[in-house]
Symmetry: C2
Subunit: 134 residues, 2 copies
DNA sequence: CTAGAACCTCACATCGGTGTCAGAGGCAAG
DNA sequence: CTTGCCTCTGACACCGATGTGAGGTTCTAG
């Protein structure tokens, strides 16, 4: 398939697909006229890239992981394996950060909901408190 | 305290603190000469901002949430409450994304570890497989 | 063969948060 | 008052992924 079809099937813009190739994380076979051609496998590859991108990995980081992703092989150096572990740990940390932020938001939401459910007459007095009284 | 101290106490650069003020998410009281002065509360405020930033919220999003964060009050409109819920849900979705990516990384790591722990003689044959044989 | 759709490369623009620099002014200790 | 540190504003630069547009080429249907 050509780049337009890969784009519509993955939901990734043509521009981005070309960028991925430029960054060395997506390959293509060129036709005689220079047009890119892809196979079904590239659809999966793009999905994988998007997954890692969504997780906040940079194209450089993805480029370093892909040799291992394609197939475990002797080229999968210990260093690459360590990079994968590092990224995974970084992801875990990040998930923790997000969870903390979500908890803080939950606290705010609860406080505001509690406030709003009180009777109007009880409201006007304590508009400076950040938590409801016990 | 002045901006330098707030910076060193929060670990946030002076430049960023000024930027936060410019974005309306951090306040300060100016001295006669125009210098910013802060109180202890601002230390917490900066921490809160950093938490939300770390979670991927934009300064605009933070600006919309802060009126509710300071204190539940009548200014906390239903719309603002809804925005908070939206952000929280967005965060939950994002956490899911990260978790998915982490699982994929874990799969890769496991596959590569399994590969590497095999005997050297069994390696050379299947370097094109993406999963170990059953 | 021809028209039109799809594709090519190259280059510049965008966004948000931050770094950095220049030139000027505030403030406290000596 | 001077010295030295801190702060002020304003401007420009950066990063990474993507958008956008120009100008030219390839492919495919009729």
């Amino acid at each position: 398939m050509r780049i337009g079809e890969l784009s519509s099937r993955t939901g990734v813009s043509v521009r981005s697909l070309r960028y991925y190739e430029e960054q060395g994380i997506l390959t293509s076979v060129r036709s005689a006229g220079g047009q890119r051609h892809y196979t079904e496998e590239h659809v999966d590859r793009v999905g994988f890239i998007r997954c890692l991108f969504a997780a906040g990995l940079s194209s450089r980081a993805v480029a370093e992981l892909l040799p291992c992703a394609d197939a475990p092989s002797d080229r999968t150096t210990g260093a690459a394996l360590e990079r994968m572990r590092n990224e995974r740990d970084r992801l875990s940390d990040r998930i923790g950060e997000l969870a903390r932020a979500r908890d803080r938001l939950d606290g705010l939401i609860a406080a505001n909901e509690a406030y709003q459910s009180r009777t109007p007459s009880s409201r006007s007095r304590n508009s400076l408190r950040s938590t409801p009284p016990p």
